[in-house]
Protein backbone atom coordinates (compact mmCIF):
# COMPACT_ATOMS: atom_id res chain seq x y z
CA UNK A 1 0.00 0.00 0.00
CA UNK A 2 1.32 3.45 -0.70
CA UNK A 3 0.84 6.36 1.65
CA UNK A 4 -1.61 8.29 -0.50
CA UNK A 5 -4.21 5.48 -0.44
CA UNK A 6 -3.46 4.61 3.21
CA UNK A 7 -4.87 7.80 4.64
CA UNK A 8 -7.89 8.07 2.38
CA UNK A 9 -9.07 4.54 1.56
CA UNK A 10 -11.75 2.61 3.40
CA UNK A 11 -10.33 -0.88 3.79
CA UNK A 12 -12.23 -3.34 6.02
CA UNK A 13 -9.29 -5.76 6.06
CA UNK A 14 -7.11 -3.04 7.51
CA UNK A 15 -9.56 -2.59 10.39
CA UNK A 16 -9.41 -6.28 11.21
CA UNK A 17 -5.63 -6.30 10.96
CA UNK A 18 -5.46 -3.35 13.32
CA UNK A 19 -7.60 -5.11 15.92
CA UNK A 20 -5.40 -8.17 15.68
CA UNK A 21 -2.26 -6.08 16.14
CA UNK A 22 -1.03 -6.97 12.68
CA UNK A 23 -0.37 -3.48 11.30
CA UNK A 24 3.04 -1.87 11.20
CA UNK A 25 3.46 1.37 13.13
CA UNK A 26 3.28 3.39 9.93
CA UNK A 27 0.11 1.65 8.85
CA UNK A 28 -1.44 2.28 12.26
CA UNK A 29 -0.67 5.97 11.98
CA UNK A 30 -2.23 6.01 8.51
CA UNK A 31 -5.31 4.27 9.83
CA UNK A 32 -5.80 6.72 12.69
CA UNK A 33 -5.48 9.60 10.21
CA UNK A 34 -8.13 7.98 8.11
CA UNK A 35 -10.37 7.58 11.16
CA UNK A 36 -10.06 11.28 11.82
CA UNK A 37 -12.10 11.89 8.70
CA UNK A 38 -14.12 8.73 8.12
CA UNK A 39 -17.15 8.13 10.33
CA UNK A 40 -18.04 5.00 8.36
CA UNK A 41 -14.76 3.28 9.21
CA UNK A 42 -15.00 4.41 12.84
CA UNK A 43 -18.31 2.66 13.01
CA UNK A 44 -17.07 -0.41 11.13
CA UNK A 45 -14.13 -0.64 13.49
CA UNK A 46 -16.37 -0.53 16.55
CA UNK A 47 -18.57 -3.27 15.11
CA UNK A 48 -15.58 -5.43 14.19
CA UNK A 49 -14.16 -4.95 17.70
CA UNK A 50 -17.17 -6.20 19.67
CA UNK A 51 -20.93 -6.63 19.57
CA UNK A 52 -23.19 -3.86 20.77
CA UNK A 53 -23.96 -5.92 23.86
CA UNK A 54 -20.29 -6.06 24.82
CA UNK A 55 -19.90 -2.29 24.37
CA UNK A 56 -22.94 -1.63 26.54
CA UNK A 57 -21.97 -4.13 29.22
CA UNK A 58 -18.45 -2.77 29.37
CA UNK A 59 -19.75 0.76 29.84
CA UNK A 60 -22.27 -0.29 32.51
CA UNK A 61 -20.07 -2.68 34.42
CA UNK A 62 -16.93 -0.59 34.39
CA UNK A 63 -18.61 2.72 35.06
CA UNK A 64 -19.85 1.76 38.51
CA UNK A 65 -16.32 0.58 39.12
CA UNK A 66 -14.82 4.05 38.86
CA UNK A 67 -14.60 4.68 42.61
CA UNK A 68 -13.30 1.21 43.32
CA UNK A 69 -10.78 1.67 40.54
CA UNK A 70 -9.67 4.82 42.29
CA UNK A 71 -9.11 2.79 45.41
CA UNK A 72 -7.00 0.27 43.56
CA UNK A 73 -4.90 3.14 42.24
CA UNK A 74 -4.36 4.34 45.78
CA UNK A 75 -6.69 7.33 45.69
CA UNK A 76 -8.61 6.08 48.69
CA UNK A 77 -5.76 4.93 50.86
CA UNK A 78 -7.46 6.26 53.99
CA UNK A 79 -10.19 3.68 53.76
CA UNK A 80 -8.63 0.90 55.84
CA UNK A 81 -7.39 3.33 58.44
CA UNK A 82 -10.90 4.73 58.81
CA UNK A 83 -12.30 1.30 59.25
CA UNK A 84 -9.67 0.38 61.79
CA UNK A 85 -10.45 3.46 63.87
CA UNK A 86 -14.16 2.88 63.62
CA UNK A 87 -13.73 -0.72 64.79
CA UNK A 88 -11.50 0.30 67.68
CA UNK A 89 -13.98 2.90 68.75
CA UNK A 90 -16.78 0.39 68.51
CA UNK A 91 -14.96 -2.18 70.63
CA UNK A 92 -14.28 0.46 73.26
CA UNK A 93 -17.95 1.44 73.31
CA UNK A 94 -18.97 -2.15 73.90
CA UNK A 95 -16.38 -2.68 76.63
CA UNK A 96 -17.61 0.48 78.32
CA UNK A 97 -21.07 -0.99 78.88
CA UNK A 98 -19.79 -4.11 80.67
CA UNK A 99 -20.59 -4.36 84.35
CA UNK A 100 -17.72 -4.42 86.89
CA UNK A 101 -16.31 -7.79 87.86
CA UNK A 102 -14.25 -9.35 90.65
CA UNK A 103 -12.59 -11.82 88.30
CA UNK A 104 -9.06 -10.60 87.42
CA UNK A 105 -9.23 -12.67 84.18
CA UNK A 106 -12.33 -10.88 83.02
CA UNK A 107 -12.83 -7.60 81.24
CA UNK A 108 -16.26 -7.23 82.75
CA UNK A 109 -19.64 -8.88 83.08
CA UNK A 110 -22.44 -9.05 80.58
CA UNK A 111 -25.48 -10.65 82.17
CA UNK A 112 -24.39 -14.10 83.39
CA UNK A 113 -21.19 -14.03 81.32
CA UNK A 114 -17.64 -13.06 82.24
CA UNK A 115 -16.16 -11.45 79.14
CA UNK A 116 -12.57 -12.60 78.63
CA UNK A 117 -11.72 -11.15 75.26
CA UNK A 118 -12.72 -9.66 71.94
CA UNK A 119 -12.93 -12.07 69.02
CA UNK A 120 -13.57 -9.53 66.32
CA UNK A 121 -15.42 -6.49 65.18
CA UNK A 122 -17.28 -5.65 62.02
CA UNK A 123 -19.99 -3.54 60.47
CA UNK A 124 -22.75 -4.97 62.64
CA UNK A 125 -21.10 -5.15 65.99
CA UNK A 126 -18.52 -6.83 68.15
CA UNK A 127 -18.01 -10.50 68.96
CA UNK A 128 -16.86 -11.18 72.50
CA UNK A 129 -15.36 -14.27 74.04
CA UNK A 130 -16.92 -15.03 77.39
CA UNK A 131 -17.31 -17.71 80.03
CA UNK A 132 -20.61 -18.79 81.46
CA UNK A 133 -19.62 -19.48 85.04
CA UNK A 134 -22.58 -21.60 86.13
CA UNK A 135 -22.06 -24.10 83.28
CA UNK A 136 -18.31 -23.54 82.98
CA UNK A 137 -18.46 -23.22 79.23
CA UNK A 138 -16.97 -20.76 76.79
CA UNK A 139 -19.32 -18.85 74.55
CA UNK A 140 -19.09 -16.20 71.88
CA UNK A 141 -21.45 -13.28 72.23
CA UNK A 142 -22.27 -11.06 69.31
CA UNK A 143 -23.18 -7.60 70.51
CA UNK A 144 -24.96 -5.28 68.15
CA UNK A 145 -23.01 -2.09 67.53
CA UNK A 146 -24.18 0.62 69.97
CA UNK A 147 -25.07 3.00 67.14
CA UNK A 148 -27.33 0.33 65.62
CA UNK A 149 -28.80 -0.70 68.95
CA UNK A 150 -29.83 2.90 69.61
CA UNK A 151 -31.54 3.04 66.25
CA UNK A 152 -35.14 1.84 66.28
CA UNK A 153 -35.00 0.67 62.67
CA UNK A 154 -32.15 -1.73 63.36
Amino acid sequence: MNDATNASTCDPARLVDYLKDRLSNDDEVALTEHLNQCAVCRNELAIAAASKEIWTDAADFLKADADELGRVLGLGAGHDQDRFERNTHQIQQVLDILAPTDDPQSLGRLGPYEVTGVVGSGGMGVVLKATEKSLDRTVAIKVLAPHLGANGAA
Binding site: Y18, L19, D21, E28, L31, T32, E33, H34, L35, N36, Q37, R42, L45, A46, A48, A49, A50, S51, I54, W55, D57, A58, A59, D60, F61, L62, K63, A64, D65, A66, E68, L69, V72, D80, R83, G120, S121, G122, G123, M124, G125, V127, V139, A140, I141, K142, V143, L144, L148, A154
Partner: protein, 201 residues
Protein backbone atom coordinates in the same frame (compact mmCIF):
# COMPACT_ATOMS: atom_id res chain seq x y z
CA UNK B 1 -12.53 -4.28 42.56
CA UNK B 2 -12.60 -5.70 46.02
CA UNK B 3 -8.99 -6.79 45.98
CA UNK B 4 -8.18 -6.50 49.65
CA UNK B 5 -10.10 -9.56 50.73
CA UNK B 6 -7.97 -12.31 52.21
CA UNK B 7 -8.02 -15.41 50.04
CA UNK B 8 -5.34 -17.68 51.40
CA UNK B 9 -7.85 -19.69 53.34
CA UNK B 10 -9.64 -20.99 50.25
CA UNK B 11 -6.37 -21.90 48.61
CA UNK B 12 -5.40 -23.96 51.62
CA UNK B 13 -8.80 -25.45 51.96
CA UNK B 14 -9.10 -26.95 48.55
CA UNK B 15 -7.34 -30.07 47.41
CA UNK B 16 -8.13 -30.32 43.76
CA UNK B 17 -6.11 -33.06 42.15
CA UNK B 18 -5.94 -31.67 38.65
CA UNK B 19 -3.75 -28.59 38.33
CA UNK B 20 -5.88 -27.20 35.57
CA UNK B 21 -8.89 -27.40 37.87
CA UNK B 22 -6.88 -25.71 40.54
CA UNK B 23 -6.32 -22.74 38.24
CA UNK B 24 -10.01 -22.74 37.44
CA UNK B 25 -10.75 -22.68 41.17
CA UNK B 26 -8.37 -19.78 41.87
CA UNK B 27 -9.87 -17.79 39.06
CA UNK B 28 -13.36 -18.67 40.20
CA UNK B 29 -12.61 -17.40 43.72
CA UNK B 30 -11.20 -14.16 42.36
CA UNK B 31 -14.34 -13.44 40.41
CA UNK B 32 -17.03 -15.04 42.50
CA UNK B 33 -16.10 -13.74 45.91
CA UNK B 34 -16.43 -10.04 45.07
CA UNK B 35 -19.62 -10.86 43.16
CA UNK B 36 -21.20 -12.46 46.23
CA UNK B 37 -19.89 -9.67 48.41
CA UNK B 38 -21.51 -7.03 46.25
CA UNK B 39 -24.80 -8.87 46.12
CA UNK B 40 -24.79 -9.17 49.91
CA UNK B 41 -24.08 -5.46 50.29
CA UNK B 42 -26.89 -4.69 47.88
CA UNK B 43 -29.15 -6.74 50.18
CA UNK B 44 -28.25 -4.48 53.07
CA UNK B 45 -25.53 -6.47 54.83
CA UNK B 46 -22.68 -4.59 56.43
CA UNK B 47 -19.12 -4.98 55.19
CA UNK B 48 -18.04 -7.61 57.71
CA UNK B 49 -21.17 -9.71 57.29
CA UNK B 50 -20.98 -9.54 53.51
CA UNK B 51 -17.38 -10.73 53.66
CA UNK B 52 -18.41 -13.45 56.03
CA UNK B 53 -21.16 -14.56 53.67
CA UNK B 54 -18.92 -14.68 50.62
CA UNK B 55 -16.46 -16.71 52.64
CA UNK B 56 -19.15 -19.19 53.64
CA UNK B 57 -20.35 -19.59 50.07
CA UNK B 58 -16.85 -20.45 48.92
CA UNK B 59 -16.29 -22.85 51.79
CA UNK B 60 -19.51 -24.70 51.03
CA UNK B 61 -18.52 -24.95 47.36
CA UNK B 62 -15.06 -26.18 48.29
CA UNK B 63 -16.57 -28.84 50.52
CA UNK B 64 -18.66 -30.11 47.62
CA UNK B 65 -15.68 -30.60 45.32
CA UNK B 66 -15.03 -34.24 46.35
CA UNK B 67 -18.60 -35.00 45.17
CA UNK B 68 -17.75 -33.62 41.78
CA UNK B 69 -14.56 -35.67 41.65
CA UNK B 70 -16.47 -38.83 42.59
CA UNK B 71 -19.12 -38.21 39.96
CA UNK B 72 -16.60 -38.95 37.24
CA UNK B 73 -16.43 -35.32 36.22
CA UNK B 74 -19.09 -35.41 33.54
CA UNK B 75 -19.48 -31.66 33.81
CA UNK B 76 -16.71 -29.19 33.22
CA UNK B 77 -15.33 -28.04 36.55
CA UNK B 78 -15.85 -24.37 35.78
CA UNK B 79 -19.50 -24.89 34.91
CA UNK B 80 -20.06 -27.12 37.89
CA UNK B 81 -18.55 -24.46 40.18
CA UNK B 82 -20.91 -21.81 38.84
CA UNK B 83 -23.95 -23.99 39.41
CA UNK B 84 -23.02 -25.12 42.91
CA UNK B 85 -22.04 -21.60 43.93
CA UNK B 86 -25.34 -20.21 42.71
CA UNK B 87 -27.20 -22.71 44.88
CA UNK B 88 -24.96 -21.87 47.82
CA UNK B 89 -25.69 -18.16 47.44
CA UNK B 90 -29.43 -18.79 47.36
CA UNK B 91 -29.16 -21.04 50.42
CA UNK B 92 -27.04 -18.65 52.41
CA UNK B 93 -29.16 -15.63 51.62
CA UNK B 94 -32.43 -17.34 52.40
CA UNK B 95 -31.11 -18.85 55.61
CA UNK B 96 -29.87 -15.57 57.02
CA UNK B 97 -26.89 -15.11 59.28
CA UNK B 98 -28.44 -16.42 62.48
CA UNK B 99 -27.87 -20.16 62.52
CA UNK B 100 -24.75 -20.26 60.42
CA UNK B 101 -22.28 -18.59 62.71
CA UNK B 102 -22.46 -20.97 65.61
CA UNK B 103 -22.32 -18.05 67.98
CA UNK B 104 -24.75 -17.32 70.69
CA UNK B 105 -26.32 -14.52 68.80
CA UNK B 106 -27.83 -11.46 70.39
CA UNK B 107 -30.81 -10.09 68.51
CA UNK B 108 -29.57 -9.11 65.09
CA UNK B 109 -31.48 -7.47 62.29
CA UNK B 110 -32.30 -10.50 60.21
CA UNK B 111 -31.92 -10.66 56.53
CA UNK B 112 -35.34 -10.63 55.01
CA UNK B 113 -35.58 -13.16 52.26
CA UNK B 114 -38.76 -14.79 51.13
CA UNK B 115 -39.11 -17.95 49.08
CA UNK B 116 -40.07 -16.20 45.88
CA UNK B 117 -36.83 -14.29 46.15
CA UNK B 118 -34.66 -17.22 45.16
CA UNK B 119 -34.97 -16.95 41.39
CA UNK B 120 -34.43 -13.24 41.75
CA UNK B 121 -31.32 -14.04 43.75
CA UNK B 122 -30.15 -16.35 40.98
CA UNK B 123 -30.54 -13.61 38.42
CA UNK B 124 -28.77 -11.12 40.61
CA UNK B 125 -25.81 -13.35 41.27
CA UNK B 126 -25.52 -14.05 37.55
CA UNK B 127 -25.49 -10.32 36.90
CA UNK B 128 -22.92 -9.67 39.61
CA UNK B 129 -20.83 -12.52 38.29
CA UNK B 130 -20.83 -11.02 34.80
CA UNK B 131 -20.05 -7.59 36.18
CA UNK B 132 -17.10 -8.99 38.09
CA UNK B 133 -15.98 -10.97 35.05
CA UNK B 134 -15.76 -7.73 33.06
CA UNK B 135 -13.93 -5.96 35.83
CA UNK B 136 -11.45 -8.75 36.19
CA UNK B 137 -10.92 -8.80 32.42
CA UNK B 138 -10.51 -5.01 32.43
CA UNK B 139 -7.68 -5.28 34.94
CA UNK B 140 -5.95 -7.88 32.82
CA UNK B 141 -6.33 -5.77 29.69
CA UNK B 142 -5.22 -2.63 31.43
CA UNK B 143 -2.03 -4.22 32.67
CA UNK B 144 -1.11 -5.30 29.18
CA UNK B 145 -2.03 -2.06 27.41
CA UNK B 146 -0.07 1.16 27.25
CA UNK B 147 -1.53 3.95 29.34
CA UNK B 148 -2.79 6.16 26.51
CA UNK B 149 -4.66 3.29 24.86
CA UNK B 150 -6.34 2.42 28.14
CA UNK B 151 -7.13 6.05 28.93
CA UNK B 152 -8.91 6.39 25.57
CA UNK B 153 -11.41 3.87 26.86
CA UNK B 154 -11.42 5.00 30.46
CA UNK B 155 -12.14 8.63 29.61
CA UNK B 156 -14.77 8.09 26.95
CA UNK B 157 -16.63 5.11 28.38
CA UNK B 158 -16.14 5.30 32.13
CA UNK B 159 -15.57 8.96 32.94
CA UNK B 160 -18.08 10.13 30.34
CA UNK B 161 -15.78 12.46 28.41
CA UNK B 162 -16.45 13.16 24.73
CA UNK B 163 -14.07 11.86 22.08
CA UNK B 164 -12.92 15.42 21.42
CA UNK B 165 -12.23 16.03 25.12
CA UNK B 166 -10.25 12.84 25.46
CA UNK B 167 -8.24 13.71 22.35
CA UNK B 168 -7.36 17.12 23.78
CA UNK B 169 -6.46 15.78 27.18
CA UNK B 170 -4.34 12.96 25.83
CA UNK B 171 -2.85 15.19 23.15
CA UNK B 172 -3.79 12.76 20.38
CA UNK B 173 -6.02 13.00 17.35
CA UNK B 174 -9.62 11.80 17.55
CA UNK B 175 -8.71 9.01 15.16
CA UNK B 176 -6.26 7.68 17.73
CA UNK B 177 -8.96 7.70 20.42
CA UNK B 178 -11.44 5.84 18.20
CA UNK B 179 -8.84 3.29 17.22
CA UNK B 180 -7.54 2.77 20.75
CA UNK B 181 -10.87 2.23 22.43
CA UNK B 182 -11.99 -0.25 19.80
CA UNK B 183 -8.78 -2.14 20.31
CA UNK B 184 -9.27 -2.20 24.08
CA UNK B 185 -12.86 -3.41 23.74
CA UNK B 186 -11.71 -6.17 21.42
CA UNK B 187 -9.13 -7.30 23.96
CA UNK B 188 -11.66 -7.07 26.75
CA UNK B 189 -14.03 -9.27 24.78
CA UNK B 190 -11.26 -11.79 24.13
CA UNK B 191 -10.26 -11.98 27.79
CA UNK B 192 -13.87 -12.39 28.94
CA UNK B 193 -14.27 -15.22 26.46
CA UNK B 194 -11.07 -16.83 27.62
CA UNK B 195 -12.15 -16.64 31.26
CA UNK B 196 -15.51 -18.19 30.45
CA UNK B 197 -14.18 -21.13 28.51
CA UNK B 198 -12.05 -23.92 29.83
CA UNK B 199 -8.38 -23.47 29.21
CA UNK B 200 -8.03 -26.81 27.45
CA UNK B 201 -10.54 -25.88 24.79
Amino acid sequence: MVTDLPNTRESLLIRVRDLRDRDAWDQFVQIYRPAVYRLARARGLQDADAQDLSQRVLISVAKAIPDWERQGQGTKFRHWLRRVAKNAVVNQLSRGPKDSLGYLVAELPLLQQSAEGSSETEQQIELEYRRQLFRHAAEVVRQRADETTWQALQMTMIDGASIADAATRLDRSEGVIYAARSRIIKRLKDVVKELESDSDE
